[in-house]
């Protein structure tokens, strides 16, 4: 019995860690640029396809090392210029938030169908990052899961460290808290906007690679991911990094336990009920600021 509970907790943690990686990027973008990025999920898929192209058709040496080393700059550039070219021009308008939302929604549609047009509708599977399982007494872990867990947690930690201990990180926070103030002290606001967009693209893109090698590259995945990340940020508090981290873990756990005790079919409704109730009483989410 105890072992089973442990099992459930573990799968909760595993989900949670991945969700965190997914959600925090979104929280960051919203927190800093105040833009609703509906195309977020499409960068998850982009990551997956990037890895696939490198590993399967091109089959480059170095395997996943090459992939990560190249994916990070690639995703950065993509995110950076998308912001500069598509979102930044909207900022002049008073209703730019609404416009940005519409634009990114269109963009996501474009990208998702674009993937199908380029790579076909079928799922693509990536080679495992590591094979086999690790037995600790009665508990069994897939090495894959462990890698994902470790990478996403360490990714988050180093992200948090950058945010709180580097000049750039402080600048990002400054823009998030008060764009005008940031401008006054001479922080290049627009570049920070683009940079955050890029960083979030990296986070979700890497998440895409990690999960796609466990499951698949699926051209349809993006909406699901967008919604998941979005639910978590909403629950944790729009723009609150810490909030999203907690939210991700809570929801990961909730899913595992509901799945175990009530059945998989009830997971979605449980999560969304939790979200709605939370929002009804605390519209700014767990740790969001009004």
């Amino acid at each position: 019995m105890l072992i089973e509970i442990l099992d459930v907790i573990i799968s909760g943690l595993l989900n949670g860690s991945v969700y965190a990686l997914m959600a925090i990027g979104l929280a960051l973008v919203y927190g800093v640029t105040k833009a609703f990025n509906f195309a977020y999920g499409s960068f998850y898929t982009m990551g997956g396809y990037f890895a696939w192209v490198f590993l399967v058709p091109l089959n480059l040496p170095g395997g996943y090392y090459t992939v990560f080393l190249t994916a990070i700059p690639f995703l950065f550039v993509v995110g950076f210029f998308l912001e500069k070219l598509l979102v930044a021009p909207l900022r002049k308008r008073s209703d730019w938030q609404m416009k940005a939302m519409m634009l990114t929604l269109g963009l996501s549609l474009f990208l998702d169908i674009g993937y199908i047009a380029m790579f076909g509708p079928r799922l693509k599977s990536l080679p495992d990052i590591v094979e086999g399982t690790l037995d600790i007494g009665p508990l069994v872990f897939m090495k894959q899961d462990l890698v994902i867990f470790i990478l996403s947690i360490s990714g988050l930690l180093c992200f948090a460290w950058i945010l709180n201990n580097t000049r750039v990180g402080m600048a990002v926070q400054a823009v998030a808290q008060n764009p005008i103030g940031a401008q006054i002290v001479g922080i290049p606001k627009d570049r920070v906007f683009a940079a955050t967009f890029a960083i979030s693209t990296i986070m979700v893109g890497i998440g895409g690679i990690l999960l796609s090698q466990k499951n698949f590259v699926n051209p349809q995945a993006s909406t699901g991911i967008m919604i998941k990340a979005w639910v978590i940020t909403a629950f944790g508090g729009m723009g609150s990094i810490k909030g999203s981290l907690y939210a991700a873990l809570i929801i990961g756990m909730l899913e595992a336990f509901v799945g175990y005790y009530l059945g998989m079919i009830h997971i979605d409704i449980a999560v969304l009920t939790l979200l709605l109730i939370t929002l009804a009483f605390r519209p700014q989410g767990l740790m969001g600021r009004e």
Partner: protein
């Protein structure tokens, strides 16, 4: 007023569309498959069957002296509204002579295509669809199901599981299926059959599409240690992730993936990992060795044409389409739907593996020409163990005890 200008322009374009409708020196063939969305894999299988048939006929000078032309429609994920649009688009706007719509959503498809007389081949004999058909068999006579009803399918799987040369360590079964009509019905009938012979349905889990984390269910499975798990989710990623995560710490359990074995990705991705996994296809073709010379020839041609193993859905669409073509030939005019339907209903078609004919409620009940086929994965490819009618061992293929069973 500029707007009036633009309005009239739009009107004009609308008119043009209307006029497209009729333009026939080719016979139009409607394909309403899932090109995008979770079922795109199965859509691809179905399409290849039709494509081969059309190429074959066109190469032989077409049908009734006319070339065949494929018109595609994306059924996406079978939202009833979309299916409805598809029917109207293909049958009303494009004036196709036949529609092959793969798996197309529990009943909605019958309603949508039943509005017209154009023969429509639908791959979903779920009770839901058949119920709709029964409402007005006369009206819906142009709807042909390319499967038996789900219940028959479920029983067949049950019979096969009982016929396996293998002694189950216990009498516990775990059923996992989706909450849609097909999955639900299979799950229900198998639960019933197992209970009848005194087995315990230790867990009957209903899961939504898109489930990829099986932790909670597998935890239960590992406690239950069932002798059989039957898994019926008509998509490809769920079964793959399930098998992978099951194998992480397997129990002494026969895994039967049901229809879920058929999307190419499943065996393609799992490869030898999947050895020992069972599965089935309603109206399938036995592989790797086909039962007849013609079938074998066709199989080789298929592999040559598409450079991959038989996508099991392809056979049934190919055969159904050929059956239609013959009916059209017999009635002398592909657009004389009354005659074509009559022919399809009354005259059996000699398929690659024998006669096929649509029986009660226009379902394709198990028959030698289109047998229900039961596979096991061996050496990373599908191998037919049994064919139904009359669960009979196929050739001398032997059931292999899955390696994870101690």
């Amino acid at each position: 007023m500029k707007k009036i200008g633009l309005m009239s322009l739009i009107v004009a374009t609308l008119m043009v569309m209307g006029s497209w409708a009729i333009a026939a020196d080719t016979i139009k063939v409607g394909c309403a498959f899932s090109l995008t969305g979770d079922y795109a894999g199965s859509g691809d299988n179905y399409f290849k069957g039709v494509e081969m048939a059309v190429e074959e006929l066109n190469a032989a000078g077409g049908l009734l002296g006319k070339q065949l032309e494929i018109v595609m429609f994306d059924n996406q994920d079978f939202a009833p509204e979309v299916v409805m649009q598809g029917a109207d688009y293909l049958m009303d706007q494009k004036k196709v002579a036949v529609v092959v719509a793969g798996w197309a959503g529990a009943g909605a498809d019958v309603r949508a295509y039943g509005k017209y007389d154009v023969p429509a081949f639908l791959d979903d004999g779920s009770q839901a669809s058949v119920d709709v058909y029964k409402e007005d068999p006369e009206k819906y006579r142009n709807a042909y199901f390319m499967t038996p009803v789900a219940a028959a399918q479920g029983s067949s799987v049950f019979n096969v599981l009982q016929a396996l040369p293998y002694d189950y360590p216990n009498k516990k079964v775990v059923l996992i299926n989706t909450d849609d009509a097909w999955g639900g019905e299979i799950g229900a009938v198998m639960a019933k059959r197992f209970k009848e012979i005194g087995w315990e349905v230790a867990l009957h889990e209903i899961v939504p599409y898109g489930t990829n984390e099986w932790g909670p269910i597998l935890t239960k499975v590992r406690r239950i240690k069932p002798a059989v798990i039957h898994f019926e989710i008509a998509a490809s990623q769920e079964p793959i992730t399930f098998v992978r995560q099951f194998l992480k710490r397997p129990t002494n359990t026969i895994i039967s993936l049901g229809w879920s074995i058929t999307p190419l990705e499943v065996v393609g991705t799992l490869g030898k990992k999947a050895d020992g996994v069972m599965g089935d296809m309603p109206a399938g073709m036995p592989v790797p060795q086909a039962p007849t010379v013609e079938a074998q020839a066709w199989l080789d041609k298929y592999k040559k044409r598409y450079k991959h193993d038989l996508g099991v859905g392809s056979f049934v669409t190919y055969t159904s389409f050929m059956a239609w073509a013959e009916a059209a030939k017999a009635s002398g005019d592909a657009y004389d739907f009354k005659a074509v339907n009559k022919h399809l209903k009354t005259v059996a078609y000699k398929g690659l593996m024998g006669d096929i004919s649509w029986g009660e409620n226009n379902t394709l009940h198990p028959q030698p020409g289109a047998p229900m086929t039961h596979y096991q994965v061996q050496n990373g490819e599908l191998v037919t163990l049994f064919t139904d009618p009359a669960v009979t061992p196929y050739k001398d293929n032997k059931f292999i005890k899955p390696r994870w069973i101690k």
